[in-house]
């Protein structure tokens, strides 16, 4: 009897263990997921070598210190916890133990230090490379599972090391042994999928691991392809040659009509029209005759734009009207009272008259596309059409962004308007103190009131006070109609009937979290 009870007890414990097994060792991956995107960013397989447009495959190959949850919050990844000193100049990260690279080596603090140093190399193309070079003082490794980073001034280094900016952790011993060139062709990471092969210009093939601390993918094989033509990508989705594609907004209706689901990364980009030339009088290119130096004119230009129509017809309902540049719901300092300006062309005309332009005026707008938002020229055309209705005749000058960039980056813009966009970020201190501070380069608008707030923000280390200063800058921009906000847009993907859930992250512009895609239940 006792033996029987012992046997039953054993069976029950075993059953309990099996049913509570962590996800990392659950069902094995099977099947293939084909992801076809407009660009794979040069297909660079080691993080520091390319920009974040390589993130789709980096996310599968590598792990990051800090991940980002779908609602945009930083969550532990390779760093199980982290903390900052009061002055935000010393950051300590405790690392997850037992993480192995695909070649069997254990991930330690030396690998983290090495990866960050690679990201700071002279030839690094990562977007946060520049900031890290400017602001990082030194990296210490007090023990194999702890990294301490010292910065030269207060800096949210955790944000820069999150998955948003692509600083994946690479194996130091492997790369030093084989060299960067060899490692770039035969990458080794610690991510949920390992490298199988790459045919440049055709595909990158990765294979899922059966066990991983982050997630065990549902699919065994990931094939990432690059096809520049969007019509072809849609055709591939419809013929079953692709399971995930990225889509411009004007193709959404067609994909839905064909019976495919569309997945959206919410609040990816904030887009607006900058009224260039709003410099402080001390700037040599300041032109006092610029019409929109007057608040009434700026307000008129804003009230003349029908943002709901733009969202409906250009973005096919996948965006929402914006209230401000840069700042989006969920960002530090966001205020829910900021609503998009109303559409009121009659009042706009009256305001123009009050501003001294009863018959309107002529102006120029440069138009170009920027990555992630091919609709920018259409937005510019739509806005020009709205402005024409209140008497403001806009001459559109198409050009490439890089041609426009040097004028804008050197704060030497003539009084021209231009569209712009920026990705979602939680902490916009860096942007606000560059875009709206006359002592910085590449400003979108300047004003003494903004300068005072920006100068305070630059030196603020208390997060609550930081948020309040950003909110005040946002309020100033809102009350003074400094730019013409248009929309908060999304990144759109079409998916096949194979794809179930896909936890997309607010504000992430590249295809990401492919490892978390589940198989749709039949």
């Amino acid at each position: 009897m006792r033996k029987k009870l012992a046997l039953v007890r054993t069976l029950l414990v075993t059953l309990l263990f099996v049913t509570t097994t962590p996800a990392a060792v659950s069902a094995k991956p099977e099947g293939t997921l084909v992801i076809v995107l407009a660009t794979l960013g040069g297909e660079l397989l080691i993080p520091f070598m390319g920009t974040s447009s390589n993130k789709p495959h980096w996310d599968l190959l590598y792990d990051y210190l800090i991940d980002v949850s779908p609602d945009g919050k930083m969550i532990p990844a390779l760093a199980t916890k982290w903390s900052a000193s009061k002055d935000q100049k010393v950051w300590a990260f405790d690392l997850r133990k037992g993480v192995r690279f695909h070649n069997g080596d254990e991930m330690t603090a030396e690998d983290v230090k090495y990866s960050i140093e690679l990201a700071m190399r002279d030839d690094s193309r990562l977007s946060r490379a520049f900031e890290l070079r400017q602001l990082l003082d030194r990296i210490e490794v007090p023990n194999p599972y702890r990294v301490v980073i010292h910065t030269k001034s207060p800096y949210s280094v955790d944000d820069s090391l999150s998955e948003r900016y692509g600083i994946g952790i690479v194996p130091k011993a492997y790369i030093e042994k084989v060299g960067v060139k060899h490692a770039a062709e035969h990458p080794v990471g610690s991510g949920p999928a390992k490298f199988v092969e790459r045919r440049l210009g055709e595909y990158i093939k990765l294979e899922a691991l059966d066990q991983h601390w982050r997630v065990v993918p549902h699919f065994r094989t990931f094939i990432l392809k690059q096809v520049a033509e969007h019509t072809t990508r849609v055709a591939m989705l419809r013929t079953g040659e692709a399971d995930v594609i990225d889509l411009p907004s004007f193709m959404v209706d067609g994909v839905k009509k064909a019976g495919f689901e569309v997945k959206i990364t919410p609040l990816s980009l904030s887009t607006w029209i900058t009224l260039g030339g709003q410099y402080v009088p001390s700037n040599p290119v300041h032109n006092p005759k610029t019409p929109w130096l007057k608040r009434e004119v700026r307000q008129a230009l804003n009230l003349a734009v029908n943002r709901d129509e733009i969202v409906k017809y250009i973005f096919k309902g996948t965006a929402r009207p914006a209230a401000l540049p840069y700042l989006m719901p969920g960002a530090l300092g966001w205020d829910d009272s900021w609503k998009p300006y109303p559409y009121d062309p009659e009042r706009a005309k009256k305001l123009l008259a009050e501003g001294g332009y009863p018959n309107g005026f002529e102006m120029t707008m440069r138009t170009f596309s920027m990555s992630g938002l091919p609709e920018m020229p259409q937005i510019a055309e739509a806005v020009a059409t709205y402005w024409a209705k209140i008497g403001v005749k806009t001459k559109l000058i198409p050009m490439e962004y890089v041609t426009h960039r040097s004028d804008y980056q050197n704060s030497k813009l003539p009084p021209v308007a231009f569209p712009f966009r920026y990705s979602f970020e939680i902490n916009l201190t860096r942007q606000m103190t560059k875009a709206f501070y006359s002592k910085a380069k590449g400003t979108h608008a300047e004003a003494p009131g903004l300068d005072k707030l920006a100068a305070e923000l630059l030196n603020e280390t208390d997060p609550d006070k930081e948020a309040e200063l950003i909110r005040k800058m946002g309020q100033f921009l809102y009350d003074e109609y400094m730019v013409v906000p248009i929309a908060y847009t999304s990144i759109i993907y079409g998916v096949s009937k194979k794809v179930g859930d896909w936890p997309l992250v607010t504000g992430m512009n590249e295809a990401h979290h492919l490892e978390f895609i589940t198989r749709r239940e039949k």
Binding site: G42, E43, L44, M49, G50, T51, D122, D123, R125, S127, A129, F130, E131, R133, Q134, A184, R199, L200, G201, E202, K225, Q226, V227, A228, E229, T231, T232, A235, M236, R238, T239, E241, E400, V402, T403, R405, S406, Q409, R430, K434, G442
Partner: protein, 279 residues
């Protein structure tokens, strides 16, 4: 090219990069040197077969060209075969049957081939044969069936031109006295056409075929973009788009060498076809 379109640093760098960052990357890539110095370095490296490294892919340009050229050659050779096998016989036949229904059909094929934009044609073929009928793959390079639509898109324009040229060249020759004599002598029509007419009409056909061959081998930007074909054409357009100067330079140099080589071969072929031509 560098001064007209802007520095590649503008494309590579984050918009918040400082001037120091720009200078650092420029030094690393050698872009801080005067244009004439950069050109000199390029020429001296060229003598050793070094075309530099791609700024975007960070691999040797020569290696990139070699990899992509293979894809273009595969597509180009099949397209060339399709073009010559279709256009030359059809051109001969329409010349012989001038004014008949067959001739009119040939004219329509030629007209459509020369007037339909290849971009539109490629997309239409994908929509009909891949999406609606499900008979062929829409893109990529996997298996014999994946060649059909890109070859049709790439080759139809060439077929149109070659067909018209062949027809025109044959009509010129068919009117000659020696052809009439050959017929009077009782030679079979097949012999008259193929031996006496075609051989004399071949010079312009071969010249044009050589040009088509280079064009098809070097890859069509439009067809490769539409079908996602990883050839030299798509490499060229990517390099222009991302201001990858070393790759653009390398591809242009390569196309030039290819063109000169094929031209030379065509010139040598003249001597074989026409004994009167001697060098």
């Amino acid at each position: 090219m560098a001064r007209l379109t802007g520095s590649p640093l503008d494309v590579m760098l984050d918009e918040y990069a400082t001037l120091e960052d720009r200078a650092r990357l420029g030094r690393h890539l050698g872009l801080d040197e005067p244009v004439w110095v950069q050109y000199g370095v390029f020429l001296s490296n060229l003598l050793t077969g070094d075309l530099g490294d791609s700024l975007r892919n960070r691999r040797p340009v020569l290696q990139l060209i070699q990899e992509r050229f293979l894809a273009s050659v595969q597509l180009g050779l099949v397209a060339f075969a399709f073009c010559t096998v279709t256009a030359i016989p059809l051109g001969i036949y329409t010349a012989i049957r001038k004014g008949t229904r067959v001739d009119n059909i040939g004219k329509v094929i030629a007209m459509l081939g020369q007037s339909l934009p290849s971009f539109w044609l490629g997309i239409m073929l994908i929509m009909i044969f891949a999406v609606q009928l499900g008979l062929l793959p829409s893109s990529g390079r996997a298996g014999p069936l994946s060649y059909v639509l890109p070859v049709l898109t790439l080759g139809w324009h060439a077929v149109a031109g070659l067909l018209r040229l062949t027809r025109s060249a044959m009509l010129d020759v068919l009117d000659n006295e020696y052809v009439k004599l050959a017929r009077i002598k009782g030679l079979p029509e097949r012999t008259v056409v193929l031996k006496h007419c075609l051989k004399n009409a071949l010079i312009p056909i071969v010249t044009f075929s050589g040009l088509i061959f280079v064009h098809l081998l070097s890859g069509s930007i439009v067809s490769e973009t539409v079908f996602g074909w990883p050839g030299l054409g798509s490499l060229a357009i990517e390099s222009v788009r991302f201001r990858d100067y070393p790759v653009t330079q390398g591809v242009v140099l390569f196309f030039t060498m290819l063109f000169l080589t094929v031209n030379l071969l065509v010139d040598l072929l003249y001597a074989y076809l026409d004994p009167r031509i001697r060098y």
